[in-house]
């Protein structure tokens, strides 16, 4: 099995668009959550806060109305097939490739693949289907499907960047981008590909976020400074965000040979399922605990080796408890690693969260700190015995686990190690 490293990070997030600014915000626990006028102004939606992505405006169903940074220009026929998440992904991908010291042409080759994760675009699906019901399919944009269904990321990006290796998308809700990273790791470790571009993205729209309010899992708090507070006793749901993050994974020897900067080694991963409920996590975090054990085994680590765990914890009542129990069951022998949930600062990015949080781990490992778990005034009792950081610490984590859980009780854990 070959060794896999991360050589590039591209960010389009509510905390910023480059590793320096994002690192600052993580270290100093500065969140990106605001009172979001479209939610505040709608009496049917009981939520008021969200974490938008600065520099982008994508509320229109017509891509030509969107605003985005000037460093990328799109041909009309490309633009018209995009959904907001694909738009963000174009930026995160080009930034990641540049960060890895590669040029875009070099990723168009049979040994470079693209794995993606997003839930598609609820907004574009809704718009295109309503229009179809009203005027018939012949009068609808012929690229409607391409911009709507889950897979919109891989369709658009594989075409735009002329990807010729392995391409696929992963659809496991909030664990999707974890799966994308894990299976991308496998492609390289098993010798099928030498380089994998892994892209997670999610729309930031009412259509994507508001349904969770109907599920009664979104925070109805109107205070952006405290709404997202994983592990706090008074947490009351998560906050929505979107954006895109791309990681470039490469076979380690080849990466070293070309003088690439190595953020970390992706040492392994594990996945396991709760077998419990379509939306709620197993009360004891049974699947998550096994996923962590499998990740440790795959990486060749013992529980005691782990310095930091970036928890999935979304700030929901039940979910955070499951995670606490899973962590206690894995780290049951003496000292707990440092633990935090960066969702306090970003909110929950759904399909994007796993890879976004992995990128936060990489930033922390490279900038020499462990981000705290913000907004905790009263720690939940279940967290007793766990070293949940309320403040960031200036210590470089060497071995890190990043957790993600999704609908259906899926759990994916990725192991990252300083290279």
């Amino acid at each position: 099995m070959r060794s896999v490293v991360v050589t590039g990070i591209g960010l389009v997030t509510c905390l910023g668009h480059d590793t320096t600014s994002v690192g600052e915000k993580l270290r100093h626990l500065q969140h990106g959550i605001v009172r979001h006028p479209p939610f505040v102004g709608d009496p049917k939606i009981p939520i008021s806060v969200a974490a938008p992505i600065p520099g982008f405006e994508t509320s229109s169903t017509d891509p030509e109305d969107w605003t985005y940074p000037a460093d990328l220009r799109f041909r009309l026929e490309q633009l018209r097939g995009l959904s907001p998440n694909a738009l963000y992904a174009h930026f995160s991908l080009t930034r990641a490739i540049s960060d890895a010291g590669l040029d875009l042409k070099s990723i168009s080759d049979p040994r470079t693949g693209l794995y993606t994760a997003s839930s598609g675009s609820a907004m574009m699906t809704h718009y295109n289907l309503s229009r179809m019901k009203k005027v018939g399919p012949q009068r609808c944009s012929p690229l409607g499907i391409v911009s709507s269904i889950a897979g919109t990321l891989n369709f658009n990006l594989a075409a735009a960047y002329k990807i010729r290796g392995s391409t696929s998308g992963f659809v496991s809700a909030c664990a999707s981008s974890g799966h994308a990273m894990g299976f991308a790791f496998d492609e390289i470790a098993l010798g099928r590909q030498d380089r994998m571009v892994v892209v997670g993205a999610e729309d930031f729209t009412e259509e994507t976020i508001a349904p969770f309010s109907g599920m009664r899992v979104l925070s109805e708090s109107d205070d952006p400074d405290t709404a997202s507070r994983p592990f706090d006793k008074n947490r009351n749901g998560f906050v929505g965000t979107g954006g895109s993050v791309t990681l470039v994974l490469e076979e380690e020897e080849a990466a070293r040979e070309r003088g690439a900067h190595l953020y970390a080694r992706l040492s392994g991963w594990g996945q396991a399922t709760d077998g419990y409920h379509v939306a709620a996590s197993h009360p004891d975090g049974e699947g998550l605990a096994r996923a962590m054990q499998l990740a440790l085994g795959n990486a060749g680590w013992k529980a005691g080796d782990v310095d930091y765990v970036n928890a999935h914890a979304t700030s929901t009542m039940a979910g955070d408890i499951s995670e606490c129990r899973a962590l206690k069951s894995v780290f049951n022998n003496g000292a707990s690693p440092a633990i935090s949930s960066t969702k306090a600062l970003t909110g929950h990015a759904l399909s994007l969260s796993s890879i976004m949080e992995a990128s936060f781990c990489l930033i922390a490992m490279n900038q020499g700190f462990i981000p705290g778990s913000a907004h905790i005034s009263d720690l939940d009792e279940e967290a007793g015995g766990l070293n949940i950081l309320k403040e960031s610490v200036d210590r470089t984590p060497e071995k890190v686990l990043s957790n993600s859980s999704g609908f259906g009780g899926v759990n994916v854990v990725v192991a990252l190690e300083k290279a």
Partner: protein
């Protein structure tokens, strides 16, 4: 032909990224249905869908501009253009009718006929080499048309000089150049193809392929040479027809410039006749 009634606001909204001239024309067209407004509307809609750096090309107003090669309009973008044109002009366009619209001129001609309720100009089909060889009395190694389009009383065709043509070895030695006489021959052959494939009433009936012969030419000029790997773009159009004679004019373009012109090529021909009436 269905007519959708649009008020001015709706028109302005659906044409919102088109040039103002197109929007004004569309608003007027909604009440007058004057076919003369169509070019402005359609050009404006096409302009809205092409890349900004290509718009100056479009504005030149040249009807020969090709949708795919010159404007980058692929089939999906074409669908979007068609949807907007349908909405604005209140007409319905069949996919079949679209297949053969290759240039700006084609579109204008097509829509003009559509609005006036005239028959759609047919014969916009592209003929591939096999179809050409099947009807022509000429054949390899003396057939100098690889692909052609018949357009009523006009035809265009292409011939790619491969460099393997036998006569190039002797013309000239060490310096292969496509002979001027064969440039004239190619134009004449395209005229023959036009006579055999056009359904335009000007030709008055099916023509017998093996009856067509060259009679005369006039005003033939060659401006530039064509060499191996060049693609010659041939164009002919019918000038006059009084059976048994038909007169054409033709030009050859290569690499964007005119390389040859024939003001007059005259051919003699006979119509296809029932065997039993032969000789009458």
């Amino acid at each position: 032909m269905t007519t959708a009634q649009f008020n001015e606001e709706e028109i302005r909204d659906s044409l919102k990224r088109c040039p103002e001239s197109a929007i004004e024309a569309a608003v007027q067209f909604a009440s007058t249905r004057n076919p003369d407004l169509i070019p402005a509307i359609v050009m404006g809609i096409i302009e809205r869908f092409v890349e900004p750096d290509v718009r100056p090309v479009l504005r030149e107003g040249n009807d020969q501009i090709r949708l795919l090669e010159d404007l980058g309009i692929d089939s999906l973008l074409m669908v979007e253009i068609v949807i907007l044109v349908e909405e604005t002009l209140g007409i319905h366009i069949e996919n079949e009718e679209l297949r053969n619209l290759r240039s700006v001129g084609d579109i204008k001609e097509y829509l003009d006929a559509k609005i006036k309720g005239l028959p759609i100009p047919t014969g916009h089909n592209i003929l591939k080499f096999e179809e050409i060889a099947a009807v022509m009395p000429h054949q390899s190694p003396f057939l100098f048309i690889q692909e052609a389009r018949i357009n009523g009383v006009k035809a265009e065709g292409t011939y790619h000089i491969t460099g393997d043509e036998a006569f190039l070895e002797g013309h000239f030695k060490g310096n292969p150049v496509f002979p001027a006489s064969l440039m004239l021959e190619a134009l004449g052959q395209l005229a023959v193809l036009l006579m055999l494939k056009s359904e335009n009433p000007a030709f008055q009936g099916p023509i017998k392929a093996d009856s067509i012969y060259f009679v005369s030419c006039d005003g033939v000029r060659c401006h530039k040479v064509c060499k191996p790997q060049d693609i010659m773009h041939l164009n002919v159009s019918l000038k006059k027809i009084h059976p048994p004679m038909a007169q054409f004019e033709g030009t050859i373009l290569c690499r964007g410039s005119k390389v040859a012109k024939a003001e007059e090529i005259s051919l003699v021909f006979e119509f296809e006749r029932d065997e039993s009436t032969a000789g009458s």
